[in-house]
Symmetry: C2
Subunit: 289 residues, 2 copies
């Protein structure tokens, strides 16, 4: 079985580090696909997956944007996830789950089990409740070749409120990263990177370098590139010669200006393809710089 880390590493070598966020913001899904309905989200997501396949290694659906449309929205998310995996894309599900053991089991079963309704290749989780709450996810990841993506240093301004608090000479996010090292080892892939991935925002490149120093074998998921304001060079600060992680962009590549008012799916897909290619080129330039 080829695991998440190995497939991701192979995909990034082939396509570059861009990860396309599947984030159907309210009111942003074109009428062309059915607009802001569960059906619209599914059609739009499938069309997006068609463009992304063969251009990037990984896509990242944001579950909150589907959940707001209820069980129908969740069914759309499941359908888009299945379509992406069938198209050869890795799906990194951004649901930021986390709970005590028995409940975490439920989430792990929903997202990280073979044949599950929302089966994905990796899942984002929140570490605040402690390492024991990550165990059910880690066990599923180890058993099914999946990835576990833990929030460490996020990209939003409020990340400073708690993640940057000094905890005996080190900020909390470094403590979190260090605490994850045994799990990083346990989930090590033969490819040399771990199936444990850390979220390290593009908006804090110096801190990304510190996390990289603390956790040299963890893959990074880097959000905040593009619409959230971080430049490509900053986004790549925690990568190692362009390897060891992915850089996520959503609004800038899935709602580009050139796609506004597209009159056909073909025209829309052309605009998205151009935006994805532009972002991959920009990141490739940053990696070489």
């Amino acid at each position: 079985m080829t695991d998440f880390a190995a497939r991701l590493t192979e995909g990034v070598k082939r396509f570059g580090p861009l990860c396309v966020g599947i984030d159907p913001h309210p009111g942003m899904v074109p009428a062309l696909f059915g607009g802001d309905t569960a059906r619209g989200l599914e059609h739009w997501g499938r069309a997006l997956v068609e463009v992304a396949a063969g251009k990037v290694a990984v896509v990242k659906p944001q579950s909150g944007f589907f959940e707001r449309l209820g069980p129908g929205g969740m069914a759309a998310m499941a359908a888009v996830t299945r379509a992406a995996r069938e198209a050869g894309l890795l799906v990194l599900m951004d649901a930021k789950r986390g709970d005590i053991g028995s409940t975490a089991e439920g989430y792990a079963e929903a997202f990280l089990s073979a044949g599950a309704f929302f089966e994905s290749d990796a899942l984002t989780v929140n570490p605040y409740m402690g390492l024991d709450t990550l165990e059910p996810f880690a066990k599923r990841a180890a058993a099914h070749g999946k990835g576990l993506v833990v929030l460490v240093r996020t990209s939003n301004p409020g990340a400073a409120d708690f993640q940057l608090l000094d905890t005996g000479g080190k900020p909390l996010y470094i403590r979190v990263a260090e605490s994850l090292l045994p799990l990083t080892e346990r989930l090590m892939s033969p490819c040399g990177w771990s199936n444990l991935m850390m979220v390290v925002g593009a908006t804090a490149p110096e801190e990304a370098r510190q996390v990289r120093a603390a956790a040299p074998k963890a893959l990074f998921l880097v959000p905040g590139y593009g619409a959230q304001g971080a430049a490509a060079l900053d986004a790549c600060a925690g990568l190692v010669d362009g390897q060891g992680g992915v850089v996520s962009a959503s609004r800038s590549v899935i709602f580009p200006k050139a796609a506004d008012g597209a009159q056909s799916v073909d025209a829309w897909q052309g605009a998205i393809a151009a935006a994805i290619n532009a972002a991959q080129s920009e990141l490739a330039g940053a990696v070489e710089a």
Copy 2:
């Protein structure tokens, strides 16, 4: 509009502080209701709601146990939530969501908006990403009279990993509680308690007292009573004369030994009613002690 805090306070005065967790653990839903399927969870949840109505103020569905059954499981959760609210129960949705602003909007819309698919009276959220990530929930709570329930000091053993770290003379969970004080004020109800609720585990009574001292107007959600091992006296440590919060129990009241092998819904409901009454009595005794 009567808000969450006012309705909760009124309900706790009338019934006592017990909150019944609606936690359909895998394999635990009796065959009588259809067992471990979306349909089984809905029937079981509706029967549980029938018993709980008139015996407790509030129920707490644990979304992870529904989500593992996919969109159908989520539809069952929505149906049970609607049934509970129609029966006059407050629904505190335990989904532990949290994300950056635009995504948090999606979750807030899904759970805290009037008429939403999963409309609840309050929602648990995770503070790790920072105060800005709580804003979309706070705005919905203020606009719709809902409650916002923030993880502060959880009941699991691993809570110690990060929540107890010393941050310049104070543990992280106290910093989190203190940081939430302005929001606690903003969400104050005319009843004298805030619509901001803090999760403070029953397994750490001394720490519950410290959070109470730091946040005298916040409601408390106290998990860990019963199956997780905390006694009634410890569970009530953060309450104020039995007011100011609820104590959650699930396995001990929804899967009591007396309900094992019940041959009819009536017999099953009788066993659940007895378990709920016993827990309320035990908590009432602890409050008076």
